[in-house]
Amino acid sequence: MYTAGLQKRYLIEVTTGMKFLVKITISLKEGMLDPEATAIRHALANLGFETEELRSAKVFFIRLDAESEGAARELATGMCERLLANPVIHSYEIEVLQ
């Protein structure tokens, strides 16, 4: 019989394997114009820092569950392909840190 106020909660443990920390670096492909990097390089020159080259990149640290290191890498690749990088201008690099 249903009793008002009585609630049952089911906790389901999902075994998803191990936790990984993945580092994803998104950079512009070789030869792509990087106007922000150029502006930053000029600003550094104004402060007296002479540089030969300056390239910018975006880095994401993502903690996730996966069965294996390979599976973690595969998930990260999916993230890059579908959102984090735009294949027209970007290349990406994935490192599984932990």
Partner: protein, 232 residues
């Protein structure tokens, strides 16, 4: 005939576009909050300018992955019209509806000014009110508007008449000084392969009444309306 203008968080030209469609042309036009999806079918959907999701990650990248875009891609697949203006153009490129990407300007600064555009193809649902080679005056307002596409994609666009607008001088010449953001081949308007989706960085809704300095942008909306009328 019914148009829709999609509103994302951060859209800020939604009311301007809605005003032009409904007040200047007297065509029914719904403003749709992106989370509500498409409640019915539309003849044309316009994705307006603004800064959806604060331009996080890349301009248009996050809005392009929202569920309403899946519905808009389906709307385009069956041949109905989609126009993306400014941030809307960035969203269309990010969603893959048009090739390439609109990325940070060659000089990485926000540019807001009047520009001259040469109509490259006047045989599209979006440009039929113009003549090929005609120069029109419409403003731009963006920091991420430099058109970039792969070499093969550019060749295909050029060879198949899918470039609709190029930045040019008042006389219609493609001189370096007349390419404010450094776009590939001066391109600032592109079409998909079916020809029913157009992405453009300039703002025709800001040039649709003489009181604003130009009504050259009206031709884009009147083209769409005539196209829909003729298709029935």
């Amino acid at each position: 005939m019914r148009f829709a203008v999609i509103q994302f968080g951060g859209s800020n030209c939604d009311y301007d576009v809605h005003y032009v469609i409904s007040e200047i042309f007297g065509v029914d036009c719904d403003l749709l909050w992106y989370k509500d999806g498409l409640p019915r079918s539309y003849d044309a959907i316009i994705i307006p300018g603004g800064f959806s999701y604060g331009d996080y990650l890349r301009a248009g990248a996050i809005a392009a992955r929202t569920p309403v875009m899946t519905e808009i891609i389906e709307h385009a697949r069956v041949g109905r019209l989609v126009l993306g203006i400014c941030n809307g153009a960035q969203i269309l490129a990010e969603s893959g509806l048009v090739p390439g990407i609109f990325t940070i300007n060659r000089y990485p600064k926000f540019i807001c000014r009047w520009v001259n555009l040469r109509v490259e193809n006047a045989d599209t649902p979006f440009t039929r009110a113009y003549c090929e080679g005609q120069v029109i005056r419409i403003p731009i307002a963006h920091k991420e508007g430099r058109y970039v596409a792969g070499e093969d994609a550019l060749k295909t666009l050029e060879a198949t008449g899918r470039v609709s607008f190029r930045f040019c001088t008042p006389g219609g010449e493609l001189l370096p000084g007349a390419n404010p953001n450094g776009s590939a081949n001066h391109i600032t308007g592109v079409l998909n392969s079916q020809g029913n989706v157009m992405a453009m960085m300039p703002h025709p809704e800001r040039a649709s009444e003489e009181v604003l300095g130009s009504s050259d942008g009206k031709g884009i909306f009147s083209s769409i309306i005539r196209h829909v009328e003729e298709k029935g």
